[in-house]
Subunit: 196 residues, 2 copies
Amino acid sequence: MKYPGSLINLIRELGKLPGIGPKSAQRLAFYLFNQPEEEIKSLAHALLDAQASLMQCSLCFNITDEPVCTICNDVSRESRIICVVEHASDLLAIERSGEFNGLYHVLTGSLSPMNGVGPDQLTIKPLLGRLEGIDEVILATATTVEGEATAMYLARLLSDLGVKTSRIAYGLPVGGDLEYADEVTLGRAIANRRVI
Amino acid sequence: MKYPGSLINLIRELGKLPGIGPKSAQRLAFYLFNQPEEEIKSLAHALLDAQASLMQCSLCFNITDEPVCTICNDVSRESRIICVVEHASDLLAIERSGEFNGLYHVLTGSLSPMNGVGPDQLTIKPLLGRLEGIDEVILATATTVEGEATAMYLARLLSDLGVKTSRIAYGLPVGGDLEYADEVTLGRAIANRRVI
């Protein structure tokens, strides 16, 4: 038996999502078909609405539905510190921690020459345009190879411009058991120890 | 920071899908936002197209984009045997096995009085209307409690009508190691042993 064309198409589209393989895509498609008509429509419209209304903040490149995001618009925030992250989801993770009250800058990725991502593919130029009156730039890119390289690149660039830069701390995660920590993390946690 | 409304809505809609929790839904939403505009549109349109064009076969309740599905329309198939399954996805699984060349009947579920699913919620009445000239009905519902109960119910109903019914075989899956089989399956495999 051949699948109907629109079912094949739906399975293919669902299978493009990260973490969803062909089997899961098929299961999702059949699940959706068994739902009331409104369910599948409301998912489709949520996708179209999000696509139509969401954009990048013109200052910090956070996801927003207004030209300037609520963080950049918030006058109560410390506007002399910028925290640089790779993705808007990283920004939200830091916001959830409640430890930072400055502004952000979303790079929209990390340097990865192998994948054709150089400084021009990231929002580095707009970042340099925001440095007027900034006291400190915190580099909160991921602790992956690409994230490290991006932080190093930015640190050099910013120190040449005389801007104070810092890097988020390495160490053991809170609640982490030493036994299960990898050697590099443990080594860094010891090297970066603090007097108490 | 508050998420934009359309992003919250998209995350909520994605989170309704089976196997996708709030964290995965958020990850999918951010992933989609990072894709080219056409990607998110084509997923939305695939959903709407599927919703608009797919329907249940008027004879067997398989998923189809025509009033009668390609299996029911196929004159080369053995039309005197009906294989009863719970879901259209089960039908496709049997089709992939290549072991069956008869017709199907999709119940669209299994009897589950606890969840308010009785015989009237399934396509049992249309099945009874298809029995004219049928030699055998194979009950291929799942080997779960609900699937078993449904098979038992149908077996009694069909034998009262003088129709030959059979149940798919229980036993060890092909490639299965005895050590890892559960006791009930192993017990059934021994009870249903065949002379070779």
